[in-house]
Symmetry: C2
Subunit: 488 residues, 2 copies
Amino acid sequence: MERRLAHEAPSFVPSWSSDLTQQDSGWADPAIDSTLQEAVPEVGTADLAALLDEIVGPLARAGTLDNAPGYAAYVPSGGLFHAALAEWIAASLNRYVPTSETAPGLAALEHLAIQWIHQALGTGASAEQSGFTPSGLFVTGGATATLHAVHAARRATEVAHTDSAQTGLVAYYSENAHSCVSQALAVCGIEHQRMLGINEHMQLPLGELASAIQHDLEAGLTPFLVIGTAGDVRTGAVDDLQGLVDVRDRYNLWLHVDAAYGGFFSMCESAQEALRGLDLANSIAVDPHKGMGLPYGTGALLVRDERTLLTAFSAQTSYINPSPEGPGLGPNTLDMGIEYTREFRGLRVWLPLKMLGLQVFRNNLEEMLALCREIAEDLAQLRHVELVGQPTLSICVFRLRAPCGDDENRALLDLINSDGKFFLTGCTMPERLGGNFVIRIALLSFRTDSATVHRLLARIEECVNIVVSRCKTPPGTEHSPHDRSTKP
Amino acid sequence: MERRLAHEAPSFVPSWSSDLTQQDSGWADPAIDSTLQEAVPEVGTADLAALLDEIVGPLARAGTLDNAPGYAAYVPSGGLFHAALAEWIAASLNRYVPTSETAPGLAALEHLAIQWIHQALGTGASAEQSGFTPSGLFVTGGATATLHAVHAARRATEVAHTDSAQTGLVAYYSENAHSCVSQALAVCGIEHQRMLGINEHMQLPLGELASAIQHDLEAGLTPFLVIGTAGDVRTGAVDDLQGLVDVRDRYNLWLHVDAAYGGFFSMCESAQEALRGLDLANSIAVDPHKGMGLPYGTGALLVRDERTLLTAFSAQTSYINPSPEGPGLGPNTLDMGIEYTREFRGLRVWLPLKMLGLQVFRNNLEEMLALCREIAEDLAQLRHVELVGQPTLSICVFRLRAPCGDDENRALLDLINSDGKFFLTGCTMPERLGGNFVIRIALLSFRTDSATVHRLLARIEECVNIVVSRCKTPPGTEHSPHDRSTKP
C-alpha cells in the first residue's frame, strides 16, 4: 500500500515544485465549492492521484503564490524541495524526538541542526567564548520563539531575585516591533508593556529606552526585558543591537532579538555591520523558513546559555524520565520549551544543509542584498519616485513623490499587481516617519533572480508613468505639497 | 531535480513504513558517532539515497520504536502513511495558510478539517444547538492547546469584567492533570494554581472543587478556569465531565478539558458514557496524533464558541489584512491563536479522513477498547497479578500482588521489555491510591492487533512466573504484607 501511494504522489508533488519558477504570483480565485461544504465522510475515497489533481491542486493555487519568483510581498518563503522531502521522511519515521530516551539518534540530529545554525550565524562561537553552552530549539516561527523568550526572561529574573515571583515586570520594545511581541507579552501575563516610538532610522531609541527604564525603576517596578528587531518586516530596519546590549548590561535585563527575517543575513559580509551585537543577545528568534527558504513552520529560538531554557521549561513529571547525558546528546527539548509533542523539525533543516551546503544559502542571501541595492539605485533614478530610506537588508521601500498621496500610491500598487506576474504589498509608515502609505519590494526567495528583478523594475516604471499621467497635478512639477493643499 | 529526488526517497520511506508491522519495539542503541559531531558543511553531499540509508535510517531506529505493533508505552502513536504523504505535499505546496488572503483554498480546507473533527466527536452539533459557532485550530499537541485555552479563558474573564485586567485569577485542576497544565498556567502568568487531590476513581473531586472555589471567592480572588482530564496519560481515567460542567455553570468559569488522549474515544459507543459532558466544555484539547494515528505534532484545540478565540488572539497590525468573509471560509487562524507562521497541519488530517473514511478510525478505537478489556480480564485471572482499577479507555494498569513491592514490579517491567519484542512503561500512582509503582499497557496504534495482544499476554505471564519464583516470599501465599515486614 505504501509503495503504491508513494508512486502516485510523485506525479503531483515534483511537478508542482519544479513548475513554480514558471508561475505567476498574482491572485487566483479560490474554488470555494462543494468540496469545502462536505460532511466528514464515513467511507473513504482511495484515488490519491485524483484527489490531488482535482481538489488539492486547484485549492492550493488559489490566492497569491508565495513561492513563485515574482512574489516580493510580506516576507517571501521558498518551500525548498529538499526540505519538503525531509518532511515526508520525518512524518513517516514519526519518532518522538522531544526526549532522547525515545529517539536518541534523531533527537541528537535535531540538536546538531540547532548547532549548525549557531555556527552559521556566529552566535555559537560567541557564546562559547563567554563560557556559555549555546543552544535552542525549533519552533514554528517568530511568534512562538518570542513567547518562549518572554517566559525564559521572566524565569531568569525570578531566579535572580531568589526564585520569587516578581510583580511589576516591565518589557520594552519599539512601535516597529512585530505585533507578535505585544501578543507574547499579553499571553505571558506581563504586567507592563512599554512601546517606545522610533528614531529617524526606524530604531528603538536608546536614550528614551534608558530614560523609561530609569523612570520605572524609580517607580518601584522591575524592568526585565528589552526586545529588539533585526529586520523589521515592513522595511528591514535593524535596531542598534550593540547599543541594546549595552543597555541590557547596564540594567541587567534580558535582551531578546526578533531576527526572524534578518538573522540569517549575518552570514553575509555586507550586512554584518548592521547586525553587529546580535550574537550577544540572550535569545534570538530566527526563521529558517525565511532566510533559508525552508517550508513554513520552521522557526528557531537560539539562546546564548542553554541553562536559561532548562530553568524556564524543565518538565517535572513522574511519567517521563529526565534528560540523558552523553557526547552529541543535547538535553531533552521537552525540558527546554512549551511543546511536549511536535513535528520533528530538525530533519528539514539538517537535510538541506547537508545536501546543499551552507554556501548555497549564504550566496542566495548575498544575491538578495545585491539585487535590493540594485533596485534602490534604479528606483532612485525615476523622477516621480522617492525611496523611503535606504534598504538595510533585502526590503526596498518607495512611493510616488508628492503631490501624489496615499491614494495614488495605492493605485500604483494595485496596477503593478494587476497582471498577476508580480505580487507586492504596501504598508503604512509610523507617524514619526510621515505616516504615509508606501510600497515594499521584499526579496528572499531563491526563485527570484536578476531577470525577475529586471522585469519587475520595468513593470514598476511602466505603472508609475500610467498613474502619474492620471494625476491632475503630476509630481515633480513646480507645485509643492503646500501649494496643493491651499490651491486645490 | 525535484523528480530525481522524488524517486530516490521512495525507496527508503515506504520501506520503513511498510516494514513497521514486522519490527520490534525495544531499545536499539543510538549510533552517536562522527555524524553528530560534524560542523556545518560548507559544501553539500548530493546523494540522498546514501544519506537516508547510511545516516537517517540508523539514527531513526535508535531508541524504542514508537510505531511498531508491540509498543504499548506512554501513549502510542501511528505515523499513518497517508498523513506522511500529506506532509510532503503540504511542505511542497508551502502556502501561507494562517490568512485566507494568501491561501484561501487551503485555509478553507484546514477549517473543514477542524469541522470534521467537531463532527466526529459530536462537539460541533452540540455547540450549534446552543447557538454557537464551533471552531478551533490545529496546534502541535495538548501542551500548546492548553496554553491557548488558558489565555482564551483569561480574556473571556476580562471581557466579562468590562474588559479590565483581573488580578487574583485562580485556576483549578487535579493532581492527575498532565504536567503541561501547570506549565501552561505558569507561562501565562496566572497568579494562583489550585492542584486538588483525586478521588478513588482518579477524578477531580467535585465537592472539594466547589469548596475551593467558594473559599477563593470569599478571599476576594477570581476563580476563572477549571481544567478537567478526559483520559489521564497514566491510567486513562476520565474526570466526571458532566459534574465539571455543572460547577462551571454554577460559578461562571471556563471549562477546558484535556482530551488529548481520550477525546477521539467519544466516537465509540462503549466509551460515550465515560465521556458524557465533553461536548459542553468551552475548549477541548484533542490529539489526532494519538486517537487517529497521525504523525506527531498534530494536535487540535476545539472551542464551542469561535468568538472566544478571536477575542483572545485577534492580530492587530497594519501589515496584514483582516479576516475575510464568505461561504466555507473560516476566520484567519492568525486571529485565533499564537502562531503567525506554522506548518499547514490541516492536510494531514483531511487527506487521511478523505481517503480512509471516518469508520476506519472509529473501528480502530473500538478495537483498542475491546482489546484492553480482554487484557484486563486475562490479567485478572493471573494469581500473582492485580489490576489497579478497571480500564476506562485503552490503558490497563496492573502490578504484582503484595508482598511483591515496587522493586519486583520494576524487575517485571524490565524483564517484559528485555527481549525487545514489546515496550511497556510504568508509573508511580498518586499517594491517594497507594503511591505504588505500576505497569501500564497502553493500546492505540492501528498496527497493534489481537495477535500482538495475545503474544504480549503470554509474555507477561511468562515473566510474572519468573519474577515471582525469584521472590523469597512469593505473593499469594499465606504471608500478609505485615508478616513480611516483621518476619524478614
